[in-house]
């Protein structure tokens, strides 16, 4: 094969390969989504985080505003400390609340932020006081069963 044709083909191949990588990055991956490299950090304390993972999204009204950066257990209170980084374009009032929610029936867990009414906004390193833990299915079923049992007992005594 002639030198120039060979070079042309190698050029086409390399261009196609690099293009494929770009397609993977931009069209398939989420490189175009926001990456929260600069934002402020807030910590929320939860009784139970369920299946929350690092890098899980933080959403407010369904909009992704940040990511979970770290999860640690406080060994004095035995509660979970969840560190979140929130985009600096989204300021939240100081009395905002955070709850752990699930996307769909089998979906991943994320943190939902509900804005409060405070005049001041959350600053870097602040703690969110109002939190709602993840729903643990076993506990819900347990409560339901206890409730049923109690109902039956009281129902039984009524009949006597």
């Amino acid at each position: 094969m002639k030198r120039t044709t060979l070079d042309l083909w190698v050029g086409i191949f390399v261009t196609a390969g690099v293009l494929a990588l770009f397609v993977l990055a931009l069209k398939v991956g989420n490189a175009s989504n926001i990456s929260v490299s600069d934002g402020y950090r807030v910590v929320a304390e939860f009784d139970n985080i369920g299946g929350l993972k690092v890098r899980a999204p933080v959403k407010s009204a369904g909009v992704v505003v940040g990511r979970v950066e770290g999860i640690a257990l406080d060994t004095r209170s035995f509660r979970a400390n969840v560190t979140m980084r929130i985009d600096k374009h989204y300021p939240f009032p100081k009395d905002s609340s955070a709850s752990i929610l699930t996307a769909g029936l089998l979906g991943e867990q994320y943190i939902g932020m509900d804005g409060g009414g405070d005049e001041q906004n959350l600053q870097d390193g602040d703690r969110i006081k109002l939190t709602q833990s993840a729903i643990v299915l076993e506990k819900v079923i347990g409560q339901f069963l206890y409730g049923k049992a109690a109902e039956n007992v009281s129902g039984g005594t009524d009949k006597k």
Partner: protein, 264 residues
């Protein structure tokens, strides 16, 4: 009785020593290839030739098999996900499967059988017809002139081939599920984009393909260089290249996956 036992143990020892010796030889061989690779970059035309041979000529098989793997994944994924009422997640399934595993692994297996075997045969025949010795006689270093460019050609081609394979596979999945079956196109892409991560999935897939490319090319070149200089020896070496590369790719894939996709 005791003699037979001793012979058995001796055999194990012999095999072990041989394996370690070969591993050492392969390591020294790779060291030489890397140390003498200056020419492969100074006379880049040599490497370009190898990219043409290993990459461009593998394009057809990579594109066609990528397309078919995507078609099958889309079809199977759709049939299964339909039962759970989440047929839109088929985009996620196809993209994750291809980018994380199938793209690098299947492309590496195809690359080993298409380009790796040819590299082994070329080096083995050059050695058995004493072309390599002739080069040395003429004060041309066969490592710098022949083997290093081959290594870098394979090393550069493999990640590009894997990326093309993945893209073709995703295109195949799109074709079968969106165009033919009629899954919603917006949901297909948005669910895919929501769950495929640039660093965790795509970058790790690229790292895998780079590792596989280096491993397959290194195995092919060493088997060729190490082949006994006979027709039978070369043919055995080609077979060994394909078998060893396939095993190495699958084993490395397990190790890399264990490091990349487990834990927090």
């Amino acid at each position: 009785m005791i003699n037979a036992l001793a012979n058995g143990i001796r055999l194990i020892g012999h095999r072990t020593i041989e394996a370690v010796w070969r591993l050492g030889a392969a390591t020294r061989f790779m060291g030489l290839v890397l140390a003498r690779s200056a020419m492969a970059f100074r006379r880049f035309q040599l490497t370009l030739d190898e990219i043409h041979f290993a990459g461009v000529l593998s394009l057809i098989i990579i594109i066609v098999s990528g397309l078919f793997v995507g078609l099958v994944l889309g079809l199977q994924g759709y049939e299964t996900l339909k039962r759970y009422g989440s047929a839109e997640a088929v985009g996620t399934l196809v993209a994750l499967a291809l980018v994380r595993e199938l793209g690098p692994v299947v492309a590496a297996l195809l690359f080993a059988s298409r380009a790796g075997s040819a590299m082994t045969a070329e080096i083995g025949i050059m050695k058995s017809t004493e072309q390599l010795s002739a080069m040395e006689m003429m004060a041309v270093d066969p490592f710098a002139r022949v083997i290093s460019p081959m290594f870098w050609g394979g090393f550069i081609s493999m990640p590009l081939l894997a990326a093309i394979f993945s893209v073709m596979g995703i295109f195949g999945g799109y074709l079968i599920t969106v165009v033919i079956i009629g899954v919603d196109s917006g949901a297909f892409w948005s669910q895919m984009q929501a769950s495929v991560d640039l660093r965790d999935d795509i970058l790790n897939g690229v790292i895998k393909s780079v590792v596989f490319g280096a491993a397959v090319t290194a195995i092919a070149l060493f088997e060729g260089y190490d082949a006994p200089p006979t027709a039978e020896g070369v043919s055995r070496a080609v077979t060994r290249t394909v078998v060893t590369s396939a095993l190495a790719v699958l084993a490395l894939d397990f190790v890399l996956t264990a490091f990349m996709f487990t834990g927090v």
